[in-house]
Amino acid sequence: MTRIELENLEEVGRKHREKLARYEGLLLVCTGTGCVSAGAFSIRDELRALLERHKLQKKWLVVPTGCNGFCAMGPILVVQPAGIFYQKLGPKDLARIVEEHLLGGKPVRSLLHKDAASGEVVPRMADIPFFAKQQLIALRNKGLVDPESIASAISFGTYGALRKALQGMKPAEVLAEVKRSGIRGRGGAGFPTGLKWESCVEAVARTGKPPVVVCNADEGDPGAFMDRSIIETDPHAVLEGMCLGAYAVGAREGFVYIRKEYPLALERLEKAMAEARKHGLLGERILGTHFSFDIRIHRGAGAFVCGESTALMASMEGRVGEPRAKYVHNVESGYQGRPTVLNNVETWANIPVIVGKGGAAFAAIGSGDVSQSPWNGSSGTKVFSLVGNIRNTGLVEVPMGIRLREIIFDIGGGIHGGRKFKAVQTGGPSGGCIPAELLDLEVDFDNLTKAGSMMGSGGMIVMDDRTCMVDVAKYFVDFLKDESCGKCTPCREGLIGVSEMLGRITRGEGTPELLDELERTCRVMASASLCQLGATAPNPVLSTLRYFRDEYLAHIEKRKCPAGVCKELIRYQITKACTGCGVCARQCPQKCITGEKKKLHVIDRKNCIRCGICRDVCKFDAVRVS
């Protein structure tokens, strides 16, 4: 199979489906980075070896897929067609699955998913609440498609929208569908994608310069891995989206700017691009038409600020990754002074569905009503990375407008370890914390902004009651202080100042004047910074001040850290619940716990570094932090 033309795309997909249909079933092994680091490649290889040993290789096919999403439960295996969900697998578990399930017809119950609340086994993936409540568009093929096979991608419909567009739509019609969908950028700013593309088309007409489309895969927010997963899972969806975008705005050149820290995603992307070129789905005369478009990959070099569009383009041009004033937008003059459309990975992944099924169908999902203007709502779905103190860490895609409570408790399974929900941080270092009283907030661009946070790229860091909100603010500020390019005064000096002030507050050296100064500095940063890194850097501080001011005041007025985190302000004590088992004393890195067997143990406060290991290992909950 070499170059594919418009007429035979369907056939390629059909042939692949037929080939798979010849098997009794498929063994879908999740090989996203999370599962890979837990040994998924060994699972894949061991399964293949086992099938051969049992002479089952013509009956069952191992299909390595991208990220399944339920990262807390990895390594994961899904057995099709029944959709049986195996979790937390080790290589030694596989023999049982082959023998008892594949050969014996009975799934291995001890390896299936157990519902946390009821304790019941839930054999089918479709019944597991984590999956059941999601709505997939960007991640439509997750856990199903083999990211390293273009035939697999085509069999799931990828490149079908491109064929539809090249066969019977004008570029302006493709643009119209994207506008109709109301989709807003998934990278964080939430700017309506259709308007962005339209501005590009206007700029091209005005300047006569050739446009370029760029995919921002720099994903720098700590805790965010949506884009990584999309590329590892379904790279062709992104490529198809970019082709459609290039077609709509008249671009022949495209780039993917991918951060250096994503080796597996890069590998899969390069493979996908090579395959696409080989089969005429990228490069000259795509699908045998007059439309030619190719993409080059540009790797980042470890700078968060290069996720900012103008810094990203400077980096692509070989210049220092520093932002510039955006008084003239990228769509007018961006990469090499040409009209440039920059969109996030997730945005691109949505485009084929919008063009394939029509923008109206997309607009019908989500919150608000975008029929008059995309600003009047948040259409479609959003991929979130659920991390932190949550039971079901992983990747979820939900319709905009879903309540926060549903994401955290119904899908996320609530707080890990039975502790209490305190806050959820959204939008990464540019976002803010949402407290428990806002759990019924309908998650969309505008509601999050109104609450003092922002959608951002979709990171959701869930925090329990053992989280100090001042410490959280300091964490994000310190991150940004290291990542600030340092060009403009408010961001560079402001972050140094805010970090210094938060440091003092967490050490019990805060004063009311300092708190005033903190707020003043935040205001200057918000209004006077050159780019959004600096302008949104105060958000974690301001939002925690808004909802958890009492915690700040406790640190300042009482020199106390209510959550028991800030080391200067807490001490560890062993209570009477101690049974004298001695486990804590053995684990203590400072060797500062003493006590006789079966007698109350004591912590030497002078040498205690408040690492918390004793509390973690104590089975009797006898270590108290005050």
Binding site: T489, E493, G497, E500
Partner: protein, 675 residues
């Protein structure tokens, strides 16, 4: 593009209101510039008119209202594209400005540039102690002006920011002193805090800041104006080729003509494709005119470096004209090869070009033939023969040995040995005092004829270049005016030689306001710079007259030296007739209309019905008489006798009437009856 090529693109105007003052500015003007036009000054720190705005310090942050919406923008780089209102002193603007200055004050409390602004706008240091607090008065405030200056003004890109956030600092690559730094000092001068220092120990100028002020001004002019003016940085002196051709001044075929239809083949746009700018070639490494250039990876087709990649240092205008049009060669490759081998052999391209042109005309006139030249077909345009001549010169073999002795010697040899007509040879041999002419056609400018033939070292135009003033501007209509020009300019230009300075920065770039001065040819704005250079170096205040006098003393001293060497009298101040008018029928007829008109209007001779030789003779008589009149006027202005010898009184006035000087001139003066 609107309308004809004569009208510029119409840039729409936008009306803005700054603090209530309305002004109209072209679309794209920065808010800062618009405010300046409205008479409102917005404070800045990282902005400078000579470099692109950066928008880093944020001090210029200003509240504006566009389409009913208020926003904050940095004035230095916000392009005005639609009507707006700006409020430079609103509460919001002041609060933001104070906030920014307060942040800077925390880190740099003692830097005057920051402190002054902070005090003026009511900014106080914040309530915390900045972990990187730097109490120095000359701390670097990370404004980036030096980086932009090195890149945009000096075109060197040697310093840049390294590190991120709190670790941001300015340095050379890898933190090591870069060999490529030319020490031009532009970064030091543009630095607002004094963080970059220039060490002056070696020359110990009295007032370096005074010198640097004018030096920086020149750098700024080169940065902002060179591209619209002479493009010295991009193409160097070669920009003159097509211009001289347009004015009929490009020496062609041994100065017979002033233009050629093939000139486009060797015009500046051609050289742009060959050369790479800014390759230091021995000129002072910090020079901001930076007009040196070189062609890389050139492969000669002849000679000892045949087939190898070499670097060609050039070409300058003189080489393109002398080793190109003047010898009829319009192949850039041959010109470059001649340039290369002249440099390699240590031969001056002007002398080579003019001498070879002479030999070629002699060949075409039949005075030489291939037997005499050892087989070389020395016709105009034969680049291969010219190159062979050059190689022969270096080897000391063949006909090259003869040509290599120069025009003066060739005239003698061709007359004595080859039977050439001495009068003809004298007329077309372009040399004076033994030096070959440099590459401008002085035929139609009496002032330039004097400028060349009277020059002390021989016909080198570094003493005077008056062709435009004389021929085109018609600014020197009388002998007296010509004589005055032939006094001022040689004296002014000689001064550069005395100082060890290149004269190109004086007039190969002009200040933007040069046109406003009464004598723009003198570029008074730059003369001021050089006066301040002298004062800054020596501590001695001088006027232009003092400077002229400095040169006059040396010049007259040199004249006496010429006299002692036997070439200091009137007869040595005359050039060949080719430099003054048409020698041959061919030349006359190439400009017949012009020459006929002159005969009619200036000579009072009616050319109608006359033969060309007759007209030649009439014109010649007139021009030679004119030249003698010029000599008289110039000598008088210079305080020399009719024979061109400085009088004792002149020497005394200049303070160079030393006994050994007087000893040289006295016998001559007595012979003339002018002692």
């Amino acid at each position: 593009m609107s309308g004809t090529t004569t009208s510029p693109d119409k840039v729409p105007a936008v009306e803005v209101e700054i603090d209530g003052h309305k002004v109209e500015v072209p679309e794209g003007t920065t808010l800062l510039a618009a405010a300046r036009k409205a008479g409102v000054r917005i404070p800045t720190l990282c902005s400078h008119p000579a470099v692109e705005p950066y928008g880093a310090c944020r001090v210029c942050i200003t509240e504006i209202e566009v389409r009913g919406r208020k926003r904050l923008v940095t004035a230095c780089n916000y392009p005005v594209r639609e009507p707006l209102k700006a409020f430079t002193e609103s509460d919001e603007t002041r609060q933001q400005r104070r906030g920014v200055l307060s942040l800077m004050l925390a880190r740099w409390p003692n830097v005057p540039a920051v402190r002054v602004l902070a005090e003026k706008h009511g900014a106080k240091p914040p309530a915390y102690r900045h972990p990187l607090r730097n109490e120095a008065t000359d701390a670097c405030i990370l404004c980036g002006l030096c980086v932009r200056a090195c890149s945009e003004m000096a075109w060197e890109d040697i310093i840049a920011f390294a590190g991120r956030g709190a670790g941001r600092r300015v340095m050379m690559p890898f933190g090591e002193p870069s060999e490529r730094c030319t020490g031009c000092g532009t970064c030091a001068y543009i630095c607002p805090t004094g963080a970059i220092k220039v060490h002056d120990e070696q020359n110990r100028p009295v007032d370096p800041a005074r010198i640097r002020k004018y030096g920086f001004r020149l750098t700024q002019e080169m940065t902002l104006l060179d591209d619209q003016q002479c493009q010295m940085r991009r193409v160097g002196t070669a920009h003159l080729v097509e211009i001289m051709d347009a004015y009929d001044l490009l020496p062609t075929h041994n100065y017979k003509f002033g233009k050629h239809p093939d000139t486009p083949k060797i015009a500046s746009h051609v050289w742009k494709t060959f050369v790479r700018q800014n390759v230091p070639d021995g000129c002072w490494a910090g020079c901001q005119m930076s007009c040196a250039k070189a062609v890389e990876d050139f492969v000669p087709r002849t000679g000892p470096y045949q087939g190898q990649k070499v670097l060609v240092d050039g070409p300058e205008y003189e080489t393109v004209a002398g080793c190109g049009s003047n010898i009829g060669v319009f192949d850039p490759h041959d010109i470059l090869e001649i340039n290369f081998y002249c440099d390699t052999y240590g031969i001056d391209t002007i002398s080579f070009g003019t001498a070879t042109a002479f030999a070629m005309e002699c060949f075409e006139a039949g005075i030489l033939d291939t037997e005499k030249t050892g087989g070389l077909e020395l016709r105009f345009g034969n680049g291969t023969a010219a190159l062979e001549l050059l190689h022969q010169m270096s080897r000391g073999e063949g006909f090259g040995v003869i040509v290599g002795q120069g025009v003066a010697e060739m005239k003698r040899i061709f007359a004595e040995k080859f039977g050439g007509d001495p009068a003809f040879l004298r007329d077309i041999g372009m040399e004076v005092k033994g030096l070959e002419y440099s590459e401008y056609v002085s035929k139609e400018s009496l002032a330039q004829q004097g400028g060349y033939a009277m020059a002390l070292k021989g016909p080198q135009h570094d003493e005077a270049w008056l062709i435009f003033m004389d021929m085109v501007n018609k600014q020197l209509p009388t002998f007296e005016k010509k004589a005055e020009a032939l006094h001022y300019f040689p004296m002014w230009r000689t001064w550069f030689g005395l100082m060890g300075l290149c004269k190109l920065p004086w007039n190969d770039v002009e200040p933007e306001d040069n046109a406003k001065y009464p004598e723009p040819n003198k570029v008074p704005g730059h003369v001021e710079g050089y006066i301040n250079f002298w004062a800054g170096m020596t501590g001695q205040e001088v006027t232009i007259d003092d400077i002229i006098r400095m040169s006059e003393r040396v010049y007259n001293f040199q004249r006496v030296f010429n006299l002692r060497m036997g070439k200091g009298t009137r007869e040595w101040d005359r050039g060949p007739y080719r430099a003054m008018g048409p020698v041959t029928v061919e030349e006359y007829e190439s400009r017949a209309e012009r020459y006929d008109k002159q005969l009619r209007e200036l000579v009072g001779y009616d050319p109608a019905g006359k033969s060309t030789p007759e007209k030649l003779a009439a014109l010649r008589k007139y021009r030679e008489e004119q030249y003698e009149g010029l000599l008289d006027a110039v000598y008088k202005r210079r305080g020399w006798t009719r024979n061109g010898i400085p009088t004792i009184e002149t020497l005394r006035n200049l303070g160079i009437d030393y006994p050994w000087v007087v000893e040289v001139v006295r016998p001559w003066l007595e012979k003339e009856g002018a002692a």
